[in-house]
Symmetry: C2
Subunit: 325 residues, 2 copies
DNA sequence: ATGAAAGCGCTAACAA
DNA sequence: TTGTTAGCGCTTTCAT
């Protein structure tokens, strides 16, 4: 069915060792032989069996990237950053999504470990220290992206979400908005909690009251619309809304605009992430940008370098557009 | 480093064959022995080496899914449908993205073939008949999703985009909109061309004039905004706009609303795909729904069944929301 | 520059 | 029910 190195060797009239050399160390093979082998490879449509190679070499040339949700552009961008860096290093990527489920996360890890990945980049959902310890014991470096886990000995690349939340809150305060709301998701993952904590701290320090918190069960535009509806139903709107991410913010803005509320005149809205959609929203979104591709790239570098206990924290950046200006 | 089946055997005081049996045919192993082996597995943190298994068995339990762009929710939904079906069948998925580049598509195919996938689901970009023939010769069933390629002997699952374009156009006509525009992307992939052709045919049959066509270099909301700007610059707006997909439509609607144009009163807009965002847009989007998860599921079934030359065509469905009603 | 051969970890056929 | 063993396709060491 699928030609093996042996058939290539026979067809080219050389030994398997020579074929292997052509594949892996072509400079050590005489020009004429190499040409002959290459021709045989082409004629037979030979494709190297990676399973055999990995088995023999003891490890493959793939890294596992396990993210929470590929439908969220935040994660796709992180993933792309990682892929670009990986390809540059001669590695391929094995993608997995946990969909926020610890159970699926476990299955993905099993899969990736069985596949013999030589490193792992993860946005952890329910990962426990024991499992990480096992991975490390198996010689698989683990790098966390966007989240750290207490008591776990692994590298991480995160964004300073407390600073991000603070940036957002201070921006609204500087605009003279003092009656604020914060829209988040329930259950609130650590990054979301940190964003809210940062905002809260900034407001407290400025002597302001804490924002009203609204929690929706998802981080989607639909959830944002519902949150805005709830605020509209209260009768009295805040004059500024901080959102846990851009997808929610887009929903909030859409619902407000539909209800005839003027953004930003009546209500200013700030998102988080700066996904591509943010700039094209009905009212272009003021938001806190995360260096997403850098997250992926740096995570890759740490994994490939098999670094020990490094924790990189990147700075977020306020991007001012019309929705809060 | 990583424990092998041999160490498990030694620790449990059995032979490797028995360990393998516990792993693959547990019912054939005596209760007591099984328990002992399982305990050893747990204590050692044993993980099966899939490379060795695949090598021995001649093929793995993975399927390759190669899509064009994971940032487009259309593809993520297709991918999810495929994943669900695959997991149900005991398979795992190897994801790849071609990013619309034939060159990257080729690299991904090389990778997947080396990995020994036992089937392939592809939205082809530059795939040629020769390559597909080789895959088939290697015993790898190939299923195309969303597109067919002339002269290539492979199964496909597509949506009848001509019918979809027709649905959209007829809906606008029924609403009394006769001065239409069609916003598409350049280069125009076959599915986009078919949608436009369907719309055109419906209009011609109804004795209407062809819509003005606007092409933007991408299928993004940003592109949609630019298209709408161009229409606004013309001075006289159409009263109905057909969009090549929802992402573009969202941009079009956003720009129109910003410019004070009333949707749908002044201009009705129809999208295509019915992505999640469509329902949460500022003006909820009338659109042509594609059964995306079904596409993924059926493609999986065809691949696993190693079907021959089956071409499944699914019907699109008009979803009427506010943007054209 | 090339060939011969061992062995990676696993499965399955066969033996006991 | 359990043990023994050949061999999957490849890389690499050691000869030649």
């Amino acid at each position: 069915m699928r030609a093996s190195i042996r058939e290539v060797a026979r067809r080219a009239g050389v030994s398997v060792g020579t074929v292997s050399n052509v594949l892996n160390r072509p400079e050590q093979v005489a020009e004429a032989t190499r040409v002959r082998v290459l021709a045989a490879i082409d004629e037979l449509g030979f494709v190297r069996n990676e399973a055999a190679r990995a088995l023999r070499k003891g490890s493959g040339r793939t890294l596992g990237v396990l993210v929470e949700d590929l439908a969220n552009p935040y994660f796709t961008d992180v993933a792309r950053g990682a892929e670009a860096a990986l390809n540059a290093g001669g590695f391929d990527v094995l993608w997995c999504t946990s969909d926020g489920s610890p159970e699926k996360e476990r299955r993905c890890l099993d899969f990736l470990e069985e596949q013999g990945v030589s490193g792992l980049i993860v946005t952890p959902v329910g990962l426990d220290a024991r499992r990480v310890a096992r991975l490390r014991a198996h010689g698989i470096p683990v790098v966390f992206v966007d989240r750290r886990i207490a008591g776990v000995n692994a590298c991480s690349v995160t964004v300073d979400h407390v600073a991000g939340g603070r940036l957002a809150a201070e921006h609204l305060t500087a605009l003279g908005r003092h009656d604020l709301a914060f829209v988040t998701a329930e259950p609130e993952t650590p990054p979301l909690r940190q964003r809210r904590a940062g905002a809260l701290r900034a407001l407290t320090q400025a002597g302001r009251t804490a924002p009203l918190t609204i929690a929706e069960p998802a981080l989607s535009p639909a959830a944002g619309r519902r949150a805005a509806q709830r605020l509209l139903d209260f009768g009295t709107l805040p004059d500024g809304i901080l959102c846990a991410n851009d997808l929610i913010a887009i929903g909030v803005v859409n619902e407000l605009v539909r209800a005839g509320v003027k953004v930003p005149q009546d209500v200013a809205v700030v998102g988080y992430d700066d996904i591509e959609l943010a700039a094209s929203a009905v009212v272009p979104l003021t938001t806190v940008r995360q260096p997403r591709r850098d997250l992926g790239r740096i995570a890759t570098e740490l994994a490939l370098a098999d670094a020990e206990g490094r924790h990189i924290v990147l700075a977020p950046e306020l991007v001012v557009r019309e929705s809060a200006s």
